[in-house]
Structure formats: structure tokens, C-alpha cells
């Protein structure tokens, strides 16, 4: 069994180095302040993040090299029946999934498998939020919120089509939702009316009350993540990859 795992790892690293990586940029260290009042701010070390979400073209390369992640080959526990449902066939994205549009309807397991294949990882929720908060001043909360006032388009727009953060990461708001490594780790508030149940289940105590009750878009993200299970696929939910800096910072 050990032998098998070693072989597998060798294979994965080999393929990752053979592929040209999506451009990643450095996100400076920061602090994520969770929406919940009684949670301590989370320090986030510098990391690297894809400048855009993983596209259908990129994901196609992944499933071509890893047939077990093709639609139809995945056990339900790793992705529900909506997995890549908008793709024309398991190996052909087709009209509803333009090559430069973000891949969606992928489960958390699938997103992670992709990241692993690239020798990378998913960003943590705190990393994602830190990156997403680096918005130019001209973008207001109301603008971010306005995305929810428009129906999901079919097909989705291409990546690099909305706005970018001050450090140059695109589409963190206004294109799709994105998986994070620990996507549901802050989902304590998500189930309205059930805070008591959750606080009973969570040691360390669950949160009630938000630090900033006017940040509606953040509420929506928290609630959305809280509704997910790792096998879920959603038409507007994709992902991007992250990595730690090559030279570990002290």
C-alpha cells in the first residue's frame, strides 16, 4: 500500500510540473476579521493566489489526465449528481461551458483534487476573505451586493471580466462563489434560528451577533458556505488555487 501512495505522489508531481500554472500573485500578509463579534481576528500569512478562477479549459485538462474525475466516474460521496452537469459530455465542455469561463458545478473534493494535481491547494477561508477585501475604494458594498440582484447567466461570463483587487486578483466578487479549504469552518451563524443548537454542538462556543451587521455581502457568503456539504455541486460555485510562498517566511 505504501508503494502505491509513493507512486501516486510521483505521478502527481510529475504532471504538475509539466503543466503551465495559472498566474499566481503574492497576497501580502493580513488579518481576517470574522463577521462574528466574539471571534478573534485571524492572522493570515503571505500567500499566493490564482489571479482568476479555474476555467473550464483548465479543468478539462485535469479530467483528461484523471479520468476518474470525469463526470460519470465519480462516486456520489465525492460529488453529487449535478457534477459538471452543464458540460456537453464528460470530456467536452461545450456551449454552456465556454473554455475561458470559470468551471462550476464541481464539488469540494473535486476542487481539492484539482489543486493537488497542480501541486497546490485551495485557499483557506481566511486567506480568501483577506484577498477579497483588497478592493479599490471605488467599489462599494452596494455594488458587490448588486451581483445578487441579477440572475445567474447561462453560460457564465469569462474570467477576468468583473473587477480586480488592488493587488490584481480578478473576479473575487460578482462572478461566482468559490470553494475554500475550510469553507464551512465559520458557518456558525448560517442556520438562522438555530444558534442554540449549534452552540451546543460547538465547543469553544458558537457566535451570535455580527461585528458588522451592515456587511450584507459577507452575510450572504457565510450563509452560502454554511449550506454546503463537501459533495455538493452548485451552478454558480467554482474555485481557484492558492499556494504558500516558495521560501517559507519566518
Amino acid at each position: 500500500m505504501k508503494i502505491k501512495i509513493v507512486l501516486l505522489l510521483g505521478f502527481m508531481f510529475g504532471s504538475a510540473s509539466a503543466r503551465e500554472a495559472t498566474q499566481q500573485i503574492d497576497i501580502p500578509a493580513g488579518t481576517f476579521v470574522p463577521l462574528m463579534k466574539n471571534m478573534d481576528p485571524i492572522p493570515v500569512a503571505a500567500f499566493r493566489l490564482d489571479i482568476h478562477a479555474v476555467t473550464n479549459a483548465e479543468y478539462l485538462a485535469f479530467v483528461n489526465e484523471n479520468p476518474k474525475w470525469q463526470r460519470g466516474n465519480i462516486p456520489r460521496i465525492l460529488a453529487d449528481e449535478g457534477y459538471l452537469r452543464h458540460w456537453e459530455s464528460p470530456t467536452h465542455p461545450g456551449e454552456q461551458a465556454p473554455l475561458n469561463a470559470p468551471v462550476t458545478s464541481v464539488s469540494w473534493y473535486a476542487a481539492r483534487a484539482y489543486a493537488e494535481w497542480k501541486g497546490q491547494r485551495l485557499p483557506t477561508l481566511a486567506e480568501w476573505e483577506v484577498a477579497a477585501a483588497m478592493l479599490p475604494e471605488k467599489i462599494t458594498r452596494q455594488q458587490i451586493l448588486s451581483w445578487y440582484a441579477k440572475p445567474l447567466t447561462h453560460p457564465l461570463p469569462d474570467t477576468l471580466s468583473t473587477q480586480k483587487t488592488t493587488v490584481g486578483v480578478w473576479d473575487l466578487h460578482g462572478l461566482i462563489w468559490e470553494w475554500c479549504e475550510d469553507y464551512d469552518s465559520l458557518a456558525l451563524l448560517s442556520r438562522a434560528g438555530s444558534d442554540e443548537t449549534l452552540s451546543a454542538l460547538f465547543c469553544g462556543g458558537a457566535a451570535a451577533g455580527a461585528a458588522d451587521p451592515s456587511d450584507y455581502a459577507a452575510f450572504l457568503r457565510y450563509a452560502f458556505r454554511g449550506s454546503l456539504s463537501a459533495s455538493h455541486t452548485v451552478a454558480g460555485l467554482g474555485f481557484r488555487c492558492a499556494s504558500s510562498p516558495k521560501e517559507p517566511t519566518s
Binding site: M1, K2, K4, I5, M39, D40, P41, I42, P43, K68, N73, P75, R76, I77, L78, W108, Y109, R112, A113, R121, E181, D182, D184, S185, L186, A187, L188, A200, L201, F202, C203, G204, G205, A206, S229, A230
Partner: protein, 201 residues
Amino acid sequence: MKKLILLPLLFTPILQASDACCSVAPPPETAPAYSDNSLFHLQASFLNTDGKEVKLADYEGKPFILAMFYATCPTVCPRLILDVHKIEAKFSEEEKTQLPVLLVSFDPETDTPANLKTFAKSWDMDTPRWQLWSGTAENARTLAAGLGIRYRKAPNGEISHSAPITLINAQGEIELQLAGPGVDSTPLVQQAKILLSTPSE
């Protein structure tokens, strides 16, 4: 009438249990023929207290009790472990040998195999029937996702987490889950006894 409709749902895993226990595990090179909802599909390996590499599918063919914890937890996890002890007390010695207990750590950084070995001793755990595993943060996250467990490590090292006790059947499927410590364990005990009474040879 309703009962008749519901019964097959409950029996399904049991019948599959008797099918699967008689088949030989497929060779690792081909895709294993686990059922759609089997946790054995999860790609996650761990280390046991002897430092040996292990994975969930090693349990294929027998039901087991599975919970996640971390050894330095000051509140919920001690209660969780006590509850598993109490559940065990409801089984005969013979039954117990058929129902291993697996505890997997959220916190591999602190819970090294050596630390967990000491921890098991301090709790009088019946090793090796009780297994304590740790591994990597990623693999703990993978297993937690499969079990629907949410957790978050605070900057001070304390981990907030849900703490279900899960009964896994011989196919690696979640047979029944108790929401957490303090919940009436009768349904889990009953269901485990049903699984155990299914002929294994």
C-alpha cells in the same frame, strides 16, 4: 403501510453487508468497487499510534465506531470519549471484539503518534481495538467533510468542532450518526447490534 415502505431503506445496507463480506477486496490498481456513499472513497491516509500508515478502507468488511477529537480538548472531547466508553458497555465482550473504535485527531500537529499513544494509556483505551489516528491537516479535513463535521482552529490553538459519534457499516457507509455527547445512544447501539448479528462468514 408506511412502515413497509421505510423498512427496505433500513435493510439495504444490511443486505449489502452480507454480500460484501463474502467478496474479496479488489486489487488496489483498479477502481475499488465501493458503494457510491462509501467513505472508503476518501483519499486520506493517517498514522496510527505505532507510526504505521493506515487508511479508512482498512476497516472494510466490518462495522466500526468513528469519532473525531483532539487530545488537548478541554471540554467536549473528554465527554465524547466517555460516551463511547458508555456505548461499549452495552455490548458483550464477544460483540466488542467485532466492533472496533476509531478516533481520528483534528490536530495532527500536536497529536503525534507518540502523544496519542500516551493519551490512549491515560484513558485506559482497549488498544489495539481502539485506534487513535492522526495524519495531516488536509486529511483530517477530508475525513471531517465526509462525516459532515465542522471545525475551526482558533489562533490560540483551541478547536471549535461538532462532535458526532458515527456508526460505519462494513461498506464504509454512514449507518447512523449521534449528534454529539449526551445524546441518547440507544439507536446506535441497536443498529450496531443488527449489523453485528448479520452473519460474517
